[in-house]
Symmetry: C2
Subunit: 452 residues, 2 copies
């Protein structure tokens, strides 16, 4: 019988995260304090993030960072996640490629987001924080943080992008089951939210706006820290547990990936699965291809500009070196809410600039086609975000079919799509459309960014 799933034993679960910044040929450009234009300091970051995450954010020297024992213990409650050989998908495509996926959808909250939520919540707890706050778009990060806060005995306040709050009421319910306080954003509870609603009372919300609200709450509330689900370097760091496991599991399968593929919003799941493999490219041992699959309607990697830009709409964050569409970019309302973010994190930005990875843009109908194909072949209904990675993998697998190459493709299945069935409904009824941006729209959208 062909082995389909590969697991690690508990003693094989990584004890350290991998910090790629230590190995990068060119370090990421520093984040800047927008007032002074000087590199931000740990103290400045600590005003909103917890101390340890601020420290990790600026660490470009230590290659390995210890996973705290209690975090690793919680990891072991759902990790290793399985590495799966997608025989069903291969057969459906008739491709000679060997397709593997890392199935992060089996985490208790249904996505990879828990890997960083547990770490961030634990550090907050250690530092005496009693309240954590964050934003959520599709709802996966908010769910993960709500649960992580609960198991470490803290309160969580989540700003959920309003359109997602309304279109996905059951995501809200899940966060509430875990005990979180969930507010649709923009809200009247913050200055940032009020300002936006004053100009546009029907504002549907965006990740950038929700970040502004959560950051403001953290700044204004003693005993409260902000947490972020992607983009930042420390979030990517925590997600490397995915790739470190996958590396061992691919070895169990007797293969090594020729291509590693992940969907791309802010960059954390991509970083998580890619960086541990990328270190062997950097050292010259391997020549793996790394593909970040982004929505064609939010194409920061393939069509954005390289610049200093804010991470949020109100401009509360430091200036981040980013491939960006501009922090006021309002993405089309596609059904992969987690990928509708205007900018890429500092590390992936540098890696893209240096040619160590590449972007690939995927239209939403192609993503849903790939998602349904995958569901029928493998039985798992993927999150629309993950379906972008599946679509990119399908493209590559079909190219292998053309050329007859048995390439080894590895993609990250970030989460399941069980909370996204209304989107599937829309797809099945033929109601989805593709969105693309004109060059003029992009030029307008990036007019406020700061040159690098």
């Amino acid at each position: 019988m062909k082995q389909k799933r590969f697991f690690l034993s508990e003693d094989q679960i990584p004890e350290k995260w991998y910090n790629i910044a230590a190995d990068m040929p060119n370090k990421p450009a520093p984040m800047l304090n927008p007032k002074t234009k000087e590199p931000v300091t740990e103290d400045e970051l600590s005003e909103i993030f917890c101390r340890e995450c601020s420290r990790q954010e600026l660490n470009v020297t230590d290659r390995w960072i210890d996973i705290p024992g209690e975090v690793r213990e919680k990891y072991c409650y759902y990790r290793s996640t399985p590495l799966v050989r997608a025989y069903g998908l291969e057969e459906a495509l008739g491709t000679p490629a060997h397709i593997y996926f890392k199935n992060e959808s089996v985490s208790p909250v249904g996505s990879h987001k828990l890997n960083s939520a547990l770490a961030q919540a634990w550090y907050c707890k250690q530092e005496g924080v009693r309240n954590v706050t964050t934003e959520t778009g599709a709802g996966q990060w908010g769910t993960a943080l709500s649960y992580a806060a609960r198991i470490f005995g803290m309160e969580a306040a989540v700003y959920q992008v309003k359109i997602s709050y309304e279109q996905k009421p059951y995501r809200r319910s899940i966060m509430q089951v875990f005990g979180a306080q969930v507010t649709p954003s923009p809200s009247m509870s913050t200055r940032a939210g009020k300002d936006i609603l004053t100009v546009n009372p029907n504002h549907q919300g965006s990740l950038g706006t929700a970040i502004s609200e959560a950051v403001e709450l953290a700044r204004m509330t003693p005993d409260c820290k902000y947490t972020l689900g992607s983009t930042m370097s420390h979030v990517s760091l925590h997600q490397t547990v995915i790739g470190l496991e996958a590396e061992k599991q691919m070895e169990m399968a007797g293969e090594y990936p020729d291509e590693v593929i992940a969907c791309f919003g802010g960059g954390s799941n991509f970083s998580g699965i890619a960086f541990p493999f990328m270190r062997h490219n950097i050292s010259g041992k391997t020549h793996t291809r790394f593909i970040a699959a982004e929505p064609a309607s939010c194409p920061k990697l393939t069509r954005g500009v390289l610049a200093y830009d804010y991470g949020d709409e109100a401009g509360y964050t430091p200036l981040i070196p980013m491939y960006t569409l501009g922090h006021e970019f309002m993405p089309a309302n596609i059904h992969a809410g987690g990928l509708r973010y205007h900018g890429a994190g500092a590390i992936v930005t540098q890696l893209l600039k240096d040619g160590l990875m590449e972007g690939m843009d995927i239209n939403q109908i192609e993503a849903f086609e790939a998602g349904v194909l995958f569901a029928k072949a493998e039985g798992i209904i993927p999150a629309p975000e993950s379906s972008h990675a599946i679509a990119a993998t399908v493209r590559r697998a079909l190219e292998c079919k053309e050329t007859g190459e048995s390439k080894v493709l590895l993609f990250n299945l970030t989460g399941h799509g069980l909370m996204d069935m209304s989107s599937y409904d829309q797809y099945l009824r033929g109601n989805l459309i593709n969105y693309s941006l004109t060059d003029e729209e992009i030029r307008k959208s990036v007019k406020n960014v700061v040159g690098i």
Copy 2:
């Protein structure tokens, strides 16, 4: 570090199912042909079920039944499911009991139902069947059959209880993603459905009605067989893979259950986890307690009568020896749709009569309280059906707290509740009520059953 999850390697996955009928001190009473009142034959059953399932249904002599290689291969795509030590729940309850659960929610379709769907679909396929049909209440069985039919290349037609079709549109979407044809029941597509709608155009549907429609479709369509998700002995047989795995996994954990607990609709998940352990009670080696947790609003085990009754509303099925509330019983619209069935299967009926197991009735608010407690403690949102087992486990664990006993409790987590968030919403808003039946209501409801 305390080990939380226990997995089996692929070579440890069972190669045979366990047929408890071979070991029962008193064999189950035979099903009867309603016209002749003679025991039904394999040929009669084969008019609606596939041949092999009909054979298994009547097999009371072979203790072990081979799992076909291809079915076992598909099992290995998601099995073993983890056995989990519920440290979080134990801590939340402050109980000295050791609580374990078998997590069937990790199957691709989110519940244990796939264990039998794969087997039934495969046998149908082997016998040249091209269409399978069934009913579904909460949607878990319909989802499992839709997926199983897909991977073996057959078409699936699912009759979904109308109220569930309307209240859980995303369950329908999942089945449609897998390519199934889903019809709300009662429908105008069958004689049984038409008759019911003629009397009551607003009939909300029931499992009994949907079974009638699917059975009729199977009878009227060449090349089409009916499949059932619970109640029948061959379904229970297929589910024993759960308990056989759990037995090995409990051994890995160094413990043996004092009590085995499962929710109860028709009996298949209960049978699946219980029977492999129960064989050691039958042989006198152990004295494990077996608890079937049923909804107080559908109390066939605790308040039903022992009688011959039909399995469906229209009376298309054989007469089954059952603890039953009457085949025309219309259960209250509780939020555990999978448990709203009027009768227990023939084997569990005999075991209950012989004192080898016991029923425990749980109100729906108690079930949701337990479900939310479990979600906060373990991170997994349980199906409302499973929450009945959790509630029974919580009761027993709190009794251990009273007495100071460190009993080992094992329950079956049949599925996740991610498609049931509207029910959780109702619970969180305080909108749920408990339903209970008066003795007079039960007397009326069982007036049509046939004495045993």
